[in-house]
Amino acid sequence: MSLFWIPLLPALGVLAPLFSAKFGRTNCAFATAFAPALALLLMLFKAPAVFRGETLIATVEWVPALGMQLSFRLDGLAFLFALLILGIGLLIILYARYYLSSKDSMGKFYAYLMLFMTAMLGIVLSNNLIQLWMFWEMTSISSFLLISFWHNNTDGRKGARMALAVTGAGGLALLAGLILIGKIVGSYDLSIVLQSGDLIRGHSLYPVALVLVLLGAFTKSAQFPFHFWLPHAMAAPTPVSAYLHSATMVKAGIFLMARFYPALAGTELWVIIVTLTGLATLLLGAYTALFKHDLKGLLAYSTISHLGLITLLLGMGTELAAIAAIFHIINHATFKASLFMAAGIIDHETGTRDMRRLNGLWKFMPHTATLAMVAAASMAGVPLLNGFLSKEMFFAETLLQHTLGSLSWMIPVLATLAAVFSVAYSLRFIHDVFFNGEPVDLPKTPHEPPRYMKVPIEILVGLCLLVGLFPAFIVGGLLHSASLAVLGGEVPYYSLSIWHGFNLALVMSIVAMFLGVVIYHNRRKLFKFQSQFPETDAKLVFESVIQCIVRGSVRIQQFFENGSLQRYLFLLFVMVALFAAKPLLQLVTTTGDREQLPLNGVALVLAVILMFAAIATVIWHRQRYISLLTLSVVGLVVSVAFAYFSAPDLALTQLSVEVVTVILLMLALFFLPQQTPKESSPARVARDLGIAALIGGIFATLNYAIMTRSGVSISDFFIANSKPGGGGTNAVNVILVDFRGFDTFGEILVLGIAALGIFKLINRMKVSMPSGDLKGRNWTKDSHPMILRTVSQSLLPLALLVSAYIFLRGHNMPGGGFIAGLITAVAIILQYIAHGVDWIKPRLRINYQWAIAIGVLISAITGVGSWMFDKPFLTSWFDYFHLPWIGEFELASAIAFDLGVYITVVAATLLILANLGKLTTTHRPTVEEKR
């Protein structure tokens, strides 16, 4: 379990800088370094076991559904990488302590750094594919934060975004690849996956999985053609570049290839893809590096080139090449990190990174210069330094491979060519910066940096030397155990000595050295040649591609989502037609076997009236008042139809709702234009008519098909239980208040909410009112005709009586709380129409809002009442009582429920209509005034 502490310590360490930042920079750095130092120590304790070739694994179950465990694995490869991450990480912490200025938020920086360190450790220690991916993506995120650390700087923001987009995309591909591997193997457990190499390689989806995983690796490791983000990530503070972009994060891709080497490598496909990608990257990076005037730009391309080199090695598929790759990982990390740190010092001390201005710094900072020169020499592959050793192994391997068949000879040649450029740009780094005349126009006078800022470089350069001189002693064990992990079984013999005799590889090195010097010497001609090509700034290209995508998206979106409701509705109807039409086309018979009702003349005429009225509504829809009248006719006929087809309750409801709706629409008519302009083109009308007729046809067909079919239904239950179970003879009403009282409860809730919502809408509503009618006549001055007033007033008690009648009989006969409520409401609305709001207001002091709440509460409490009898919500109760003289009568909880319905309906309707009325009690302009 102690394995968990290795990533966990830095994870906890994220908090350390945040809390210690206020205690000064040095304390903050120490506090930050504590956790990784401890983790490093912990790991070193594990070293003997790892060097013995053991694989330490610690697992905790996490998400079984995802096959995801929290599982860590420490083998040679993980050990090597973890060592780099923690070791260089500690040096970076020290370095950053001096690098960051007092304006920078050190706490935040260290916190991001620790987050990154955790993620990196997570990747290399993961023993579960999904977990590995989790940490993989976390590096993308934390590196985004680190690159954009100076976020006021546009380059920083854009560079970070680009890095995130590219590595994020790769990460997504990787996820797909890993899940695919998991599906092939049946487990995400790395130990199992690594043992299932043959299964994976033999699977038909292997190419897909391989490509996906490699996409992840290549994007992360800045392989061609995904390399372009790395130079722009150099906008990051230099400690970040040194850490992420040389030593660790970009190596995550390499790590991935190494990690999956036993599972994925060894096929032709692997060799071709990885080798060619590596080769292209190697060449491109080496060549481009030479032309970069920016110090960090040069190092960035150099990094790309070296990453290509390692990739190439891993691609060759031979065991020795893999070992060479691992060795070069170590070497590159040491010399490149130190070079970056040196570049950071130069930048820090001079205020520029432009090599055209940086000249002759040797005089100002000899100590730094020396360190940089040793590291650069290692980068160039100068003997006695570590870079030389791995490069030599590389050359040797290029000579042994047969990747490209008869063209395989090209690989050593191209490798040498890359080495030539590598020597050239290393030389440029040394000569152009530290010698080559006097500095040009530097913002600051350079001098040596603080003492401890150089310590990390000294350590790394020392390592370069030590490894270069005593390779087997220093890294032998490390390399061996890592190779063991990568190769999965036996490690072949390899020699870590400085001298392998005078062989072809050495010749290649010597040629590279010589030609490199020649090229650097003639660099001006080469620069001139290169300057003929327009320099494409990847950032600009990337940004413009993104801009292009964004603009395209905007265009697509504006085209489809043009804000036109008519289009949206049209699509909705098309969808309905599409979905319904397909099954209907397969329907064999429309007419079912059920006996149909005979047609009669009266019904026919009524139907004709209904259809004519409906069509008239459409034809006259632009004269809104007329369409309202025809609409009323439709409503009337529908009510009569309900009555005709034995649904008296429905007829009553439809009638009362109809009136309220008409009143509402008339109110709307006053505040809306009274006519509709002719807007639709004939084509549009035809289109709309087409889809409307289609939908109409579909609904009619469905309706006919259903009505003519016989079927089963639960309805008999209601008929049978209405009286004995629900205590009422009106089955419809018993369903409403008892069997499905819950629906009714919901329904009054809807009505209540609608009223509240409408009241909310009316509140502070701006209205425009027509000053006269359609023909421009003034409205009459007689706002409340006397006769109407007088009669309405006497109708009110009568209407209330009818309400009471309808309400009380509802349970047994057509009627009920809802209809009664609407009758009451209509009667009161008639008072509003006849007398006006001003007259009613002081005479009818009802708080409709309260009434709605009380109405719904009465129904709810009636429902809850059954809890006392240990029955579910809305369980009804009824009984028959006998009183002398009066006779038998029934009491039922349904009546209380219905009372709630009644009150809600009255209150909601009035809240809506009465408040609408209030809108115009203020002055209304006449036609003349408006002119």
Partner: protein, 167 residues
Amino acid sequence: MLAKPRFRWLPMPYHSMLLFVTWLLLNNTVAPGHLVLGAFLALGIPMLTSGLSQPQPALHKPIKTARYALMVLGDIVTANLEVARQVLGPLDQLHPALIAMPLDIEGDLPITLLASTVSLTPGTVSSEVSQCRKFLYIHALTMTDEAELIATIKERYEKPLMEIFSC
């Protein structure tokens, strides 16, 4: 003369009576239970709505009222037959007219009743009451003599109504 509520619990006795009868009509019954319920509603509803009603002249002659109602019913039957003939017959024999009938009767309810009677009896529709409540504009489907029509209405309908409301 305006009727003042005589009892607090019976603000509109005629209304209450009317409601009670209506309740029994609605239920087609004189069962005791409904008598109680009807009485309760007949008392309760006016109490609820009394706030919303303007005081009106009281009915003083219930018997005269009934007689008036029957007379109007009779007029409706005879006039309807006459008008039906006119409607179905040649239209060019119709001589419509808009007339203004001076009103002697006062008060909202009496005027309303008169206007309603005029409208209910076929052949005439009360179209407008002048703001001063002194004239009733009537449209007649066909009219031979204006004075005669006015006199008939005044004699047959306005006078009894004035008696009923004693104004």
